[in-house]
């Protein structure tokens, strides 16, 4: 990915706040100019006092005071404006990212249940505030100031301006080299760190086994070795960056000495009419400008991390949904014709066939990991790697309860509706079906009570029933439930099943469960399918 392209989405977000970054830039420029002015004017004043006979003290005196105060105020406001801007851009970008993320295939979405992936994501988004604060804005400010210097110095002598031009170009080249190296370093370091992280997590997850098998020393030795390697790689990459910083220091200091020398020549030359005070002013202005330039390497060392973070964030979005081959059946039934599901190229169970109509229940029974969930995913059009034909009553009109209980840190109402328009009566009715109505009525704010980590803690079984209720709030011709009763007592599960049998006469209910209630097996409206090995 080329350098500017990686940052394009961010620039678009910045553009939405044009006036703010323009203001921030102007304030930064003002700060810098005041800083340079303070030093240069002070130098002029001191030299004039030492050499001239009469000096108007009021103008330079107030000028110095003005620069000192304005610099402080401008800097303060500038930092506020720029940080506020960055927060707004981040917020905007977070939403844009989430929108694109939603378009993923369902397998991609599940990956973010892992804390690691989320940590990495938030880390990358935070790294992006470097883009404006440490990369773009300092560079803009320094470039603008250098242009001002070129103009100003050219009033004195072309050589002075020439020195600034040459130094500026040299600095530009060195900084771009630095940015390039910092990206190489960031990539390498990320690879090494990933290795240690993976090994570390493997160790902590299997720590008991490792200790029992007395393998701890061997495993920790390996991690120690990688740790040493990582630090060595880190140092090596930093060396290049530091050499560039050294060259830049020599370049800019040399420029200052050069400017000093030319200024003195101008002073000595009777034709030039440059006073001694102006010599010192030029010297100190050059010193202040050089200090500015030397801030750039430290800021631009962040380029690598930032570009990498941006790359990672964009990569998360390139997967698109796999097209699933589920069709609509002619007679509003659920049909499986010799369907078997594959994980990569491995067939998970012997092909099965089925036909079910409204009011019938299909129970899939098999131990965990044998392909039940995958078959349900395929039926819902979320998974494409299957053989045979699947036909559903109506495409995209189904209720799905995932095996993993998805609960938001939010109110009960939001958890149930997820933004859908549903009337409260229906909600309470469904809550009665899963025997949660009483519990929720007891809550201080009932449906508007917060649950989850920050709110009321419910038991695992209660969360599960809540998720089940969510899946039943709307009528649909096909209801898919993946292990709906996991974590529930057997008699509670049986009661809920009884109720649902009566309340869902128009739906085909497809249930995956490793435990099928005994009362169901003999029922004629229930089909039990055991997934067999192939």
């Amino acid at each position: 990915m080329s350098k500017p392209a990686v940052f394009k989405p961010w620039f678009r977000a910045f553009n939405a706040h044009r006036w703010q970054w323009w203001l921030g830039f102007k304030l930064a420029l003002l700060t810098v100019v005041c800083g340079i002015g303070l030093l240069a004017l002070s130098g002029w004043f001191i030299t004039a006092s030492a050499i001239f006979v009469t000096v108007n003290i009021y103008a330079p005196g107030s000028g110095i005071r003005f620069f000192a105060v304005t610099r402080t105020v401008a800097r303060y406001v500038e930092r506020l404006v720029n940080h506020d801007l960055v927060l707004k851009v981040q917020a905007r970008w977070r939403i844009a990212w989430f929108k694109r993320f939603q378009r993923h295939a369902y397998e991609g979405l599940a990956r973010f249940r892992v804390a690691q992936a989320i940590q990495g994501l938030t880390r990358h988004i935070e790294a992006m505030d470097n883009l404006w604060l440490r990369l773009a804005m300092p560079a803009f400010a320094v470039t603008a100031v250098s242009l001002c210097f070129i103009v100003w110095f050219s009033f004195y002598h072309w050589a002075l301006a020439g020195i600034v031009v040459v130094t500026g170009l040299g600095a530009y080249w060195l900084i771009s080299r630095l940015a390039h190296y910092s990206l190489l370093q960031a990539v390498k370091v990320e690879k090494y760190q990933h290795r240690i992280r993976a090994r570390g997590m493997a160790l902590t997850e299997s720590l008991e086994e490792v200790m029992a098998w007395k393998q701890f020393d061997k495993q920790s030795e390996r991690i120690t070795y990688y740790s040493r390697e990582t630090e060595r790689a880190f140092q090596f990459e930093q060396r290049r960056a530091r050499k560039i910083k050294l060259l830049l220091e020599w370049l800019t200091h040399g420029a200052v000495i050069g400017i000093y020398w030319v200024a003195i020549q101008l002073f000595i030359d009777p034709n030039a009419q440059v006073s001694s005070a102006e010599v010192v002013m030029l010297l100190l202005a050059a010193l202040a400008w050089q200090e500015l330039l030397l801030e750039l390497p430290q800021q631009w060392q962040n380029y690598g991390r930032t570009a990498l973070a941006s790359r990672r964030l964009l990569v998360e979005q390139t997967n698109s949904s796999a097209k699933a081959k589920v069709v609509e059946s002619a007679d509003a039934s659920l049909r499986w014709d010799n369907v078997s599901v594959y994980r990569q190229s491995r067939q998970l169970f012997a092909p099965i066939s089925l036909q079910a109509v409204a009011g019938e229940w299909v129970w899939l029974s098999a131990p965990s990991g044998e392909g039940k969930s995958t078959l349900l995913n395929a039926t819902a059009g979320m998974y494409a790697n299957f053989s045979g034909k699947i036909a559903v009553p109506k495409l995209s009109e189904f209720n799905y309860l995932t095996q993993h209980t998805d609960i938001l840190d939010d109110t009960v109402f939001n958890n149930l509706t997820l933004g859908r328009q549903l009337d409260e009566q229906r909600i309470w009715k469904v809550l009665e079906w899963v025997e949660l109505a009483e519990r929720i009525r007891q809550m201080p704010e009932q449906l508007n009570s917060r649950i989850g980590e920050l709110g009321i803690r419910l038991s695992g079984g209660q969360y599960r029933r809540l998720a089940l209720a969510r899946a039943l709030l709307k009528d649909a011709p096909l209801v898919i439930l993946d292990e709906p009763f996991s974590g529930l007592e057997v008699d509670l599960a049986a009661r809920i099943t009884e109720r649902l049998m009566n309340e869902l006469p128009l739906s085909i209910v497809l249930v995956a469960s490793h435990h099928v209630p005994a009362s169901v097996r003999a029922h004629d409206r229930h089909t039990v399918i055991e997934l067999g090995h192939c």
Binding site: R71, I95, K99, T402
Partner: protein, 544 residues
């Protein structure tokens, strides 16, 4: 709270000891760097004075120009070397931190403290937070005193009034910053809360993305994230307003000090002030003092910038400090032949205040012992004590070869996202053994032969690619491949398909026939029926 603080600070100090040599060198070069700066500015001021005031010819001053060039080169080189040593110090310190973390996990495991799966990433994520501290803050805190001190001495030599001015403004600035900082602390706590809230909302939306997508809740999710983002921004800006205020104080005082120096020197040179050495001011001394003033404040500014390195490191250190390691029981080798293990007066520590007592047990050699009992009766806890993974009081006696590794089959056997072969030999010291006979015995040979690359087929996270039964059989194969005399298993047949469970039961029986001792915790009736010895726990524990 302050206990935490102290132990974190101690931790940081201890980690640093390996990097002392590098730190000292960095300090040395830092001091040399400041000396070069002083020399450089001295020569610049001398040149100005001699050329502009004394009007000496340029040719007489070539030496000054050369020395100026030399001092400039030296300054850059000293800075370069200093950063090199700082960086190396950080590398050594972080490596040390990682090693200590590994040792801490080992001792935590021995005491039976559970370690979260995600803790493994602390090796990178938490330890990296220390880098800024050791690379920048640690040396900077000394240089922030040394460099200004050197400059102060020079300034006093040039002009006492300026010296006093700088001396006063030096300490005043941190004082004012601290006052502002105290207010910032309170606000930053609020900010930390809203930061956590935003992270929580975002994380929640990500984790539940499947359901959100299934129920077309995208708009709802976006609105929630947007709202949380806005709250975060507001809280963040409140904190920043105060945080920036403290650094604005620094900027203000340093700018004012420079302005004051300039005005004082100017008025002194003009003759408006003639007390306390003002009449001795020359262009040289005045200019030098003016150029030194920003250099006086520069380390302080750098120090302020690195302060959040310290905060991050303290945060990391509280996570990394070791708790007081308790002494782990050393076992007495036992003498009774025919027994592989035995317990005496065993009381296993569950929480610091609660211990679970067990009656005395013996585990005969070469026999299959099944520990059974209702859930919660302490089967797993007993196993963990036998494995040395939980602290206890009393004794666990082992046979003479008792320091051998134990082939352990845990409730959730660990599988790496690597090849099947790697997983088979995960805990083995001898990867050259042919696994085929063992695979045939556990019935995995066909499944592996059919797989894409046979033994080299890559598994996914948590063994994805093998069914639950196959994963357990692979873990059993691990135990069979090893030759350790003791095998301990925790619920090996739970939630398993009938075929896999049969294989496991059969193999466990065979293992004993070949002379190895097998201890199993299980409520599987069929397995209990195969047992040579049976231990029934019922909360009170009794031997059957």
């Amino acid at each position: 709270m302050s206990d935490n603080f102290r132990s974190a600070a101690n931790y940081l100090k201890q980690i640093q000891t390996v990097a002392q040599r590098s730190t000292r060198r960095a300090l040395l070069f830092g001091v040399l760097q400041t000396s070069s700066v002083i020399l450089q500015l001295y020569l610049g001021a001398q040149l100005a004075h001699r050329l502009l005031v004394l009007k000496e010819p340029l040719s007489d001053l070539t030496l000054y120009w050369l020395l100026l060039a030399f001092a400039t080169c030296a300054r850059a080189i000293m800075g370069w070397r200093r950063e090199l040593w700082q960086s190396e110090a950080a590398g050594l310190a972080l490596h040390n931190a990682r090693q200590r973390l590994l040792r801490r996990w080992q001792s935590q495991c021995r005491q039976g403290q559970s370690i979260d799966r995600g803790d493994g990433s602390m090796l990178i994520d938490t330890v990296e937070q220390l880098r800024g501290y050791y690379e920048r803050y640690f040396v900077q805190q000394y240089l922030t005193v040394l460099s200004p001190l050197m400059i102060l001495v020079v300034c006093f030599w040039l002009n006492p009034v300026v010296g006093v001015l700088l001396l006063i403004s030096g300490p005043i600035i941190p004082l004012f910053m601290a006052l502002v900082g105290i207010g910032a602390e309170r606000v930053s706590q609020k900010h930390a809360q809203s930061s956590v809230a935003l992270s929580r909302v975002f994380t929640s939306m990500l984790k539940n993305a499947t359901s959100i997508k299934l129920f077309n809740g995208l708009q709802f999710a976006n609105n929630t994230i947007a709202q949380a983002g806005e709250d975060y921004r507001r809280a963040n800006m409140k904190t920043l307003k105060l945080a920036f205020l403290s650094s604005a104080v620094l900027e203000f005082f340093s700018s004012v000090a420079i302005a004051a120096v300039a005005l004082y020197v100017g008025f002194g040179l003009l003759g408006y002030i003639n007390w306390l050495g003002a009449d001795e001011l020359t262009l040289f001394s005045g200019l030098l003092v003016l150029m030194l003033a920003p250099e006086y404040f520069a380390p302080l500014r750098q120090f302020a910038q690195t302060y959040h390195d310290r905060a991050a490191a303290m945060g990391a250190a509280t996570l990394l400090t070791e708790n007081n390691p308790q002494d782990v029981q050393a076992d007495v080798a036992m003498t009774a032949p025919g027994h592989c293990l035995a317990t005496q007066n065993l009381q296993v520590t569950i929480t610091p205040n609660a211990r679970l007592p067990y009656p005395d047990f013996t585990f005969p050699k070469g026999a299959l012992t099944v520990i059974s009992g209702p859930s919660g009766s302490g089967k797993s806890t007993l196993l963990r004590a036998l494995l040395g993974l939980q602290s206890y009081q009393g004794t666990v006696l082992r046979a003479n070869d008792g320091d051998q590794p134990i082939a352990y089959f845990s409730q959730q056997p660990f599988l790496l996202p690597a090849s099947i072969r790697t997983n088979l030999f995960l805990y083995s010291d001898d990867p050259s053994v042919d696994p085929q006979p063992v695979l045939r015995r556990v019935g995995l040979d066909k499944a592996i032969a059919v797989a894409a690359s046979g033994l080299d087929t890559m598994l996914g996270e948590r063994g994805a690619g093998l069914s639950g039964g196959e994963q357990r059989r692979l873990a059993l194969a691990r135990c069979l491949l090893s030759s350790y005399p003791l095998i301990i298993l925790d619920e090996p047949t739970e939630n398993l398909d009938a075929e896999s469970a049969d294989v496991i039961r059969r193999e466990l029986g065979d293992l004993c026939k070949s002379g190895r001792t097998v201890i199993v915790a299980s409520h599987d009736e069929a397995l209990i029926a195969l047992a040579d010895h049976r231990i029934e726990l019922d909360g009170g524990g009794s031997y059957v």
